[in-house]
């Protein structure tokens, strides 16, 4: 079976009303927008979807909405990482019950588990469900806790549904060690980065990206991916630099700047839950100026 988690996959933001409650109608519009503009899969709620600021009940409710709204047009994976590991297991089971196509799970938060503890965690998670599982490796955000190439190999050998990784070390050596270990054992293992790092990852076996950039500039995302897989490196470089300029804009006060940018693009999705800030009017004006300068307002869709 060819791995279906590849290409420019979108991880939507979570629309909120002004009282910070979930905005279901707008969430459905976001999902439809991504499907219509070429997303190859949906994955929700990533950190940019404010996953950790949602209750477990809210996450279940919107996971159901995502599966229902996308309605099989493209695969939907649910990000199940939670502070308490037991919540993660419940979210994983729920994702399976509602008909999601897979789950995504990071190494445990807060604690600094040993390599054996990380191994045992993924074994327990992957054997608790039948769905495909994508792991999420983010050593720079999680105090050096990481899935090394050796550990990845052990998990692949043990677990038939361990099918990929969102690789967020963004480091040549770490990526290469994982790709060397994983692809030898499972040639269709999905090595996924963010859209801001397609250029350095695709030559080493990267097959796609998760991001929310498609809510701002779906055309640019698609062009970049196409240039990378076609090996058109000079063109890919220019497009990647452009994406990086946008990423520099949005990584500041992430994900509130992203939500601020969506206002400019005619797709408002409301505020960001504390402790994250909401983009101020000044911040939005700055974002507008940058988007204008990059030509995004002329080349990307406006409105829903």
């Amino acid at each position: 079976m060819t791995n279906k988690f590849r290409g420019v996959m979108q991880s939507p933001v979570t629309p909120l009303k002004n009282d910070f409650s979930l905005d279901l109608a707008t969430f459905e519009k976001v999902l439809d927008f991504h499907v219509r503009t070429g997303a190859t899969a949906i994955s929700w709620p990533h950190h940019k979807g404010e996953s950790l600021n949602l209750t477990i009940a809210e996450r279940k409710r919107f996971a159901e909405a995502a599966v229902k709204t996308v309605a099989g047009r493209i695969p939907v994976t649910i990000h199940v990482s939670a502070l308490a590991v037991e919540d993660t297991f419940a979210l994983a089971r729920h994702a399976q019950d509602i008909g999601a196509d897979g789950i995504l799970a990071i190494t445990p938060y807060f604690w600094t588990p040993t390599r054996e503890a990380i191994h045992d965690y993924f074994v327990r998670l992957c054997t608790s469900i039948e769905l495909p599982v994508l792991s999420y490796n983010s050593p720079s955000y999680l105090a050096g806790v990481e899935i090394t190439g050796d550990l990845m190999a052990r998990l692949i050998e043990r677990l038939p549904n361990f099918v990929g990784v969102k690789e967020a070390s963004f480091n040549s050596e770490k990526f290469l060690e994982i790709s060397r270990a994983a692809l030898k054992l499972r040639p269709d293992f999905a090595l996924v980065t963010g859209v801001e790092f397609l250029l350095p990852s695709v030559p080493l076996g990267g097959v796609g990206s998760y991001s929310a950039a498609g809510s701002i500039c779906p055309n640019l995302c698609r062009d970049l991916f196409d240039a990378c897989v076609a090996g058109e490196w000079p063109r890919a470089r220019e497009l990647q630099y452009k994406v990086s300029r946008l990423w520099a804009l949005f990584r500041n006060q992430y994900p509130s700047s992203l939500k601020g940018g969506m206002v400019i693009m005619g797709r408002p999705v409301g505020p960001t839950r504390p402790p994250l800030p909401t983009a101020s009017a000044e911040r939005q004006a700055h974002i507008r100026a940058e988007l204008e300068q990059l030509g995004i307002l002329d080349t990307e869709p406006h409105g829903w």
Binding site: E173, L176, F197, W233, A236, R237, Y241
Partner: protein, 304 residues
């Protein structure tokens, strides 16, 4: 300033005699070996060449010897890193007078000065010469000490002969942030892979490589470099994976492993200087066995 293109740069080790003095006869043979093995340039004495364990007088003698021995066959990049700014600047002036083609320096050893003093450190070293000046970003070597893209852009503004950055951070975000701005601020600014892992760096825009493993696998590195230089990045992956496996084999033992591997390939350059320790007999035997099992090394030269 004429454009300086380092190409594939080999990093000779520093051979020591049994009495721990620099073995200049062997250094001469080693330099000849590297040039015969198609180095485009040589950098010395680098960290792989135990620069930090050489006295000031030895560093000067080594540069003078190397310039005479190379006799114009390839450019010599002199590594002048020091803790004290003035000491490094004096080494740079000496290397220029001796006939080096370029100068390279890291962040200062031991100290952790504020960014404005790191900038001043580089400005003073670079301004001591008219040669192209390269900054080496090597956080793994420097207990985490690293430069930011922002600081390097400031250095471009301050230093006319700041020609490029040698990256050993392997950090995709840093490399992208730097090159997408630096190429406008200084057309021709060089991004140079500071390790044998070039594919991702090349995708981002690196055009040269410092190869510490060139003493072991010069043919494989030449193949990798040629493919990267010609933008054949998918084709470069196989060679890159072979080199990555060699790098992982030698990594833990550092210079001691590198020298043991050189001896195993018939190019005995003695032991490292204290405080580094040579590999013991058991570790050496294991290393030799593992080297012999790497199929890709069968086409690599043995002996001088």
């Amino acid at each position: 300033m004429p454009a300086f293109q380092p190409g594939l740069v080999h990093l000779p080790v520093t051979p020591f005699a049994p009495d721990r003095s620099i073995d200049f006869d062997r250094l001469g043979k080693l330099i000849d070996f590297h040039i015969r093995s198609r180095a485009d340039a040589l950098a010395l004495p680098t960290h792989a060449g135990e620069s930090v364990s050489l006295t000031d007088g030895e560093k000067r003698a080594l540069i003078e010897f190397a310039v005479k021995h190379i006799a114009g066959r390839v450019p010599l990049i002199a590594h002048v890193s020091e803790a004290g700014t003035a000491i490094a600047a004096a080494l740079a002036r000496h290397a220029e007078a001796a006939g080096a083609a370029a100068i390279m320096a890291t962040t200062p050893y031991y100290w952790t000065p504020p960014p404005e003093m790191i900038l001043e450190h580089f400005v003073q070293i670079g301004a001591a010469v008219r040669l192209p000046f390269l900054v080496h970003n090597a956080p793994e070597d420097m207990s985490g000490g690293r430069v930011s893209a922002e600081l390097m852009l400031k250095l471009i503004g301050r230093l006319d002969n700041f020609a490029g950055l040698v990256d050993s951070s392997l950090d995709w975000q840093f490399m992208i942030d730097l090159i997408m701005e630096a190429r406008h601020a200084r057309p021709g600014f060089l991004l140079i892979s500071g390790t044998d892992l070039m594919v991702s760096a090349a995708a981002i825009g690196a055009t040269a490589m410092f190869a510490p493993l060139a003493g072991i696998a010069p043919n494989l590195l030449r193949r990798l470099f040629a493919l990267c230089r010609d933008d054949n990045l998918f084709e470069a992956r196989a060679a890159q994976e072979e080199i990555a496996s060699l790098r992982q084999l030698l990594k833990a033992g550092g210079v001691a492993s590198l020298k043991a591997a050189l001896a195993a390939r018939g190019r005995d350059c003695g032991h490292p200087r204290p405080p580094l320790q040579a590999l013991d007999a058991g570790a050496t035997a294991t290393l030799v066995r593992e080297l012999d099992s790497i199929a890709a090394l069968r086409d690599e030269p043995r002996g001088w």
